[in-house]
């Protein structure tokens, strides 16, 4: 029953996790972290597509200042759908539940995550939440925005707030299950010799992410529960007519939702560390600083939520405190950018597609992070708050940062996941298209925001039209950029060349096992004797 038995296998066909059983039942009852990762991949791709269509409709609507494509109510439902699905049903599970699930045990030299059954349960919980959210959309939609601000969401909205909040509430438990699983896995299932400071940086970032998942998500859960209770009873704790305080909702909501931003970006940072080390053929500069910066971001990230409330009439003193803490949390992020840049120095750089995505991440995340400073600066935020500047800023982080990293990671581990290699030039073209389309879409929105165009505006003053048209054209290019990978990655599944165990010549335990990996990941439990990214340094 242990790993030593496997070499005795007489089967001529090489068995791996994909081909050992093709039945649907074997997929739906699997406890294999690699298969669960693929279940997540299929699910979130579906939700990404729906949310992207909503975004496309909004961008087309915003071609003209009048509301001529859809009426306001529909527009409001579109941006709520886009926000809710993108945040909770795509971004938050994207890197952790897909790439993390697949790669984490491989990186640790483990057979699986600590609680395989819980892992499968988390996917089912996720699907249950997603179905409820889909029901809310199909049954008429929700028009609160993804932030569910009270008292609009609790009293005034006539959308299916109960179902949507319920869907997010349920999906939250899948986040908690994943986070809990990862934390215990990283503590308990590291291969012999794999000490904390020998871990790949992706593992560090997943650990930091899991901390947030476990400690922040329950606060969102209880907040949504209170909203549902308020809608159900007709009275509730956030109701100003009862003496309740709508700002308390914002505090509790952002206590989750600001750290949630780090749930979305930290795993991206981890992936990018892997990519830069691999394609520059160098150990990440300042490895320990980068590793600890992940934890620092996770912890400091809990102290800054009040910067979403500078103009909400929270106390001036609280505003000052939150502003200071927000600046402090940006220090470790800035440090990471410097360290990645320094890693390129005297490296031996190859320009494969995953690395192009990593470069895209570096550029866009830097812009996104620096514009965050504008919003952390109290006086400047007063002007920019709730304008398109904010929209542009967080899309630079979420899409420019996270989605770029996700795509980079997907391209990097694709040969490991599928055992096939995709067409490299097609992937490079897609990376460049996405980068250009993205900037064309979102850079004009910084200017729009500076000029004062509020977010969530369906009809807007005509002087904002030119920039909106540019933005919509960019969105078209971005959309094409996202369609390309579907084509060449799909094509590679059938026609792609077979990938060896280590097509990139990378270090890391996941590259020591065949592609696709066997069901138990490793024939022999690996023993680690070196640090991560042990590339030959110096001359080449």
């Amino acid at each position: 029953m242990n790993a030593d038995d496997i070499p005795g296998s007489v089967d001529t066909r090489v068995l791996n996790y994909l081909n050992r059983d093709y039945s649907l039942r074997s997929w739906l009852s699997t406890r294999d972290h690699k298969r669960i990762a693929l279940l997540y991949l299929a699910t979130i791709t579906f939700f990404f597509a729906i949310a992207a269509v909503a975004a496309a409709l909004m961008r087309i609507e915003l071609l003209t200042p009048q509301g001529d494509l859809v009426v306001s109510d529909i527009y409001n439902r579109l941006f709520t759908l886009h926000g809710v699905l993108m945040v909770w049903f795509f971004l938050i599970p994207s890197i952790p539940a897909v790439l993390g699930n697949f790669v984490l045990p491989l990186m640790l030299g483990a057979r699986d995550v600590a609680f395989p059954r819980l892992n499968l349960a988390s996917w089912y919980i996720f699907v249950a939440g997603a179905l409820l959210a889909l029901y809310a959309i199909v049954a008429g939609g929700v028009d609160t925005g993804w932030t569910f601000y009270t008292p609009y969401s609790s009293t005034y909205s006539n959308g299916n707030v109960m179902a949507m909040a319920g869907g997010v509430f349920i999906a939250g438990f899948s986040s908690i299950a994943t986070g809990l699983n990862f934390i215990v896995t990283i503590h308990q299932l590291r291969a012999p010799g794999l000490t904390w400071f020998r871990l790949p940086l992706f593992v560090w970032s997943l650990y930091a992410t899991s901390l947030i998942l476990v400690l922040a998500t329950p606060v969102l859960a209880i907040t949504l529960l209170l909203i549902m209770l308020e809608r159900f009873l007709g009275v509730g704790v956030f109701d100003p007519k009862l003496g309740g305080d709508p700002l308390l909702f914002q505090h509790l909501f952002w206590f989750y939702s600001h750290p949630a931003v780090y749930i979305m970006i930290l795993p991206g940072m981890g992936v990018v560390s892997e990519l830069i080390a691999c394609f520059a053929r160098k150990r990440i500069f300042g490895y320990r600083v980068v590793a600890i910066a992940s934890l620092a971001i996770a912890i400091l990230g809990f102290l800054v939520w009040g910067h979403h409330m500078f103009v909400s009439s929270q106390s001036v003193y609280a505003g000052v405190v939150f502003s200071l803490l927000s600046f402090l949390v940006s220090v470790p992020s800035a440090i990471k950018v410097f360290n990645w840049t320094a890693t390129l120095h005297r490296g031996s750089i190859r320009f494969d597609a995953p690395f192009l995505y990593a470069l895209g991440f570096l550029a866009l995340f830097t812009i996104g992070g620096l514009t965050g400073l504008f919003l952390a600066t109290l006086a400047v935020d007063v002007h920019l708050h709730d304008t398109y500047f904010v929209i542009a800023h967080f899309h630079y982080i979420m899409v420019g940062g996270m989605v770029m990293a996700y795509m980079g990671g997907l391209h990097y581990w694709w040969p490991k996941i599928t055992g096939r290699i995709y067409h490299d030039w097609a992937a490079r073209v897609a990376a460049v298209t996405i980068f250009c389309g993205f900037n064309l879409t979102f850079f004009p929105q910084f200017i729009l925001g500076y000029l004062g165009m509020p977010r969530r505006f369906h009809i807007y003053p005509p002087e904002f039209q030119a920039l909106n048209v540019i933005s919509t054209i960019g969105a078209g290019i971005l959309g094409i950029g996202y369609l390309l990978p579907l084509i060449y990655l799909g094509w590679s599944l059938f026609r792609g060349a077979k990938a060896g165990a280590n097509p990139w010549g990378a270090t890391g335990l996941e590259w020591t096992t065949p592609s696709p990996p066997p069901e138990h990941n490793f024939d022999v439990t690996p023993v680690v004797t070196t640090e991560a990214y042990n590339y030959p340094e110096g001359t080449e």
Binding site: M1, D11, L189, L233, G236, V237, L252
Partner: protein
Amino acid sequence: MKAEGTRVESPYVDAAQRALAQQLGMWAFIATEVLLFGGLFIAYAVYRVHYPDAFADGSRRLDFWIGTINTAVLLASSLAMAIADIAVRRDRRRLLSGCLAMTWLLGALFLVLKGYEYHQKFVEHLIPGPHFAPAGGPAAPEQLFFVLYFAMTGLHAVHMVIGLGVIAWLFVLSRRGRLGPASPGRVELAGLYWHFVDCVWVFLYPLLYLIR
């Protein structure tokens, strides 16, 4: 082995590693629960400071004796659970199933008393909403107190119901002789959960019943 399609169920090297992993997992889950209830406690604290009179008035409308007796009942059920945990390690099977039964019964008694209290609140028009009409007129934001009362005790009761399900399952296992010193993990983990739910009530009791 391979041809039969069996797989190594456990990712662990040995039972000790597995036990520690489960401990860690359970405590991480309890940290999650602390923050889940914590959101309610924070909302409570904010309004309690804002409206001390309304909260004192609301508290006076709760049944002090049911609250106190229920606290004692829960503490006793925790004791039974703690004894069960010792019993399973010493392989005292009859004591184990007896203690599990005791834990379950005391937990159920708690819920019955709680249900009776909810019924009382219904009769006295203390359910928040359009029919909220306490005798003698409410101190104005008093509905806030009752919304929080029902949210906090309701969430706690949901946890109790889940706990009762788990303990009933353990009881069945113990009657079948499936619990013993070789694998004390299940009783121990269920115990952690049960004691934690108890701890939540330990705080709900003074915050809801003892304001004067």
